[in-house]
Symmetry: C2
Subunit: 419 residues, 2 copies
């Protein structure tokens, strides 16, 4: 069966001056992919009639379905709806259903029900309108009516607000696509999460295995924040068993570095590990400043294993709340093995947990010294088997150092737990 091809068109000036990161496209790509639809291109264009027209026309040539986001707000810079009307030779008409929905939506906020909001219940006559449960912009599906095309083609226009788009995709668009297209379910992606080995060293270690892969199974290396994800993909040509056989052959080659055999981030793996064993963890953060806590709390149910954190940005907090000795701070400074060990042990004692992680470092851009340059981070792990500490050096800007340090703290703990 021929794979269904999709393209995504993200519309909005804010994306092209870099004020907003296009998280919508990756979320949609993931969702479409899991349903067996191959996304072949994402195009981001301005709120501009010609740019939207050209991008939509080109994408409709190449793909079976085109999904656009953005440009559906009530304000003047949003022109997607009128441009699509031109493209599909239709006009705007009032929709009593959408009007009723918008009035109900804003029943408690009458100040929002104004003349601008009223443009939201004008919809293209030729489009199928699906309900937008959480927002005022209607979801629009245009079917291409050309007679010389064998396969149906659709254009779907969605709001650009991520939360609205996600609910619309999940509740309306995916069921609609499943109803109107024969969706393949045989695209397979399997991911192995590897930590503590550089990409090229890894590639060399598994070179023979990689060369022996059948042409029906594709391998990709996805390095990020010290973690390398190895992804095996099959686009309808290999069976799940065949992919599993390759994974079974791969794992023994890299056993000392595997964090997970699913596409799970280290924080998720750790959360599951702790939940299964009914164990708990706490954190004491200096340079990572809440990033580690945020990672540990990303998952629902984290309150079962995550007791809390003391973010000890100031040395007085390290001393008074965590019990770091004044003489340690005076002699070794806050960015030192002794300090980070005392932080980990202090928070483990204070919050009565099985494990604790502590971080102290220089996230920069200021604060570095020749001795301890920006990017120097001490990490410590207090465990029932003793406390371990490690000094790491991270590159990049403040955000990257913070993120990478937090990720390293989790990655290393997972390898420690596996021992």
């Amino acid at each position: 069966m021929k794979a269904l091809l999709a393209e995504i068109i993200s519309i909005g000036d804010e994306l092209l001056i870099g004020q907003v990161v296009n998280t919508n496209a990756s979320w949609m790509a993931q969702t479409l992919n899991h349903a067996g639809i191959t996304v072949v291109q994402v195009t981001t264009v301005r709120d501009d009639r010609q740019a939207i027209t050209e991008a939509v026309s080109a994408a409709m040539q190449r793909a079976d379905m085109v999904l656009t986001t953005g440009g559906l707000g009530p304000t003047k810079d949003d022109i997607t709806k009128t441009v699509l009307c031109e493209l599909f030779h239709t006009r705007l008409v009032e929709s009593p259903e959408v009007r009723e929905h918008v009035r109900t939506l804003y029943a408690n906020r009458p100040e929002v029900l104004n003349s601008l909001t009223a443009t939201q219940w004008l919809v293209p006559e030729a489009a199928v309108i699906l309900p937008n449960r959480v927002g005022s912009a209607p979801l629009m599906v245009f079917h291409r009516s050309a007679t010389n095309v064998q396969q149906p083609k659709v254009l779907i226009s969605l709001p650009g607000v991520p939360h609205e788009m996600q609910i619309a995709m999940t509740e309306q668009i995916m069921p609609y696509l499943k109803e109107h297209f024969a969706l393949a379910a045989d695209i397979i992606h399997r991911t192995i999460v590897v930590y503590g080995i550089p990409e090229s060293t890894l590639a060399l270690r598994i070179e023979q295995w990689e060369q022996a892969l059948p042409p029906t199974i594709h391998l990709a290396y996805l390095p990020k924040q010290g973690v390398v994800r190895l992804r095996l993909s099959s686009y309808g040509e290999a069976s799940a068993d065949e992919v599993q056989q390759q994974i079974d052959a791969l794992l023994p080659l890299i056993a000392d570095h595997v964090l997970a055999t699913d596409d799970l981030a280290p924080n998720v793996v750790l959360g599951r590990w702790l939940t299964e064993r009914k164990q708990t963890i706490a954190t004491a953060e200096s340079c990572t400043g809440g990033r580690l806590a945020a990672l540990l709390n990303e998952q629902s149910g984290s309150s079962v294993y995550y007791m809390g954190s003391v973010i000890a940005y100031d040395n007085s907090v390290k001393q008074q709340v965590l019990g770091v000795l004044p003489e340690t701070l005076a002699a070794d400074g806050a960015v030192s093995e002794a300090c980070v060990r005392q932080m980990a042990e202090g928070v483990r004692r204070l919050l009565k947990t099985d494990y604790a992680i502590a971080t102290s470092g220089i996230a920069g851009p200021t604060g570095g010294t020749p001795d301890k340059p920006v990017g120097t981070v001490w990490l410590a792990w207090a465990t029932p088997n003793g406390t371990f500490a490690e000094c790491r050096h991270f590159g990049g800007d403040r955000a990257q150092i913070t993120n990478n340090a937090a990720m390293a703290a989790l990655g290393k703990l997972l390898l420690l737990l596996k021992q």
Copy 2:
């Protein structure tokens, strides 16, 4: 002067199955924009010869400069370099400079210097090679040699690792572009950050002002996490003074909701406000779980005003570290006005700060009740003028509720401070 047009092509399967968010494109767009280069399109394609060829060819037609990222790694799935060689009719030759650089780069990590890494010092003969200080993939600049084109056109190929790409853009590519193109410096973006008013209410309130804007100044509404950014842009047609005049006319209309008159996030505005006044802040977080701390620590220099946080995920931490009364937790629960007030006052006392923010709510997806559905968040602000508390309801998934609650906690504090 005609504005210089750029397009960005992001290359990588991982972007089209949604495993990686394309943060590179927005970072590059912002950087190019600030140098007066207008980004008109971002195209994301797979690691596929035909897709790369078509996207690059089309972009070179439309734009003066095309920047690609990705596909330059040493592994087999990376094909950008060979595809660009075909497109620009050139071949790969060994570069002694790049070889030397890569050897120096990995001098301390001999395991990385293997046969795969060796492909990194093969470079296209026709390309200008610029040094990649932090990575092994060379930066390549191809000049289009067509004789019938008046303006020069270039294609620039950059690595896809965000940290490498950013250093390459800042240190090599932007200076190179400034040398080879007459860059306009008259693109103006000004942003007003507004909080506590819905987008359409805001639009109606400033409708007359908006209608009177000259056609040379463009207005965009950028709503995100409860904050609306109003952006005024001029693409070489209005002067900075003319834009400022419009801002001067706008501000009195929305004075009660303005957080900042620069494109600053609420955390940045708060950081500056506290730094100027030599005041300090602490946080006590339950449902936001570190997100608020991470926001407050995003900026360098935050250690001057940010003392730390107690992330009290577990009720025992709320009691023992923050001093929340057991009877409050028993009678009202953790998600209550009384609890969040005690958390804010407790952490303000413990860390001896001028201000403190506390959060307690239900981030979901589990844990909601009819009384306190998912998205219910109590916020409190302990200040020298007393403690204030507010119950808010946020939509979306766990990450959105957490982010929006953290942002609301900062936005509301700023409005309180302005009073």
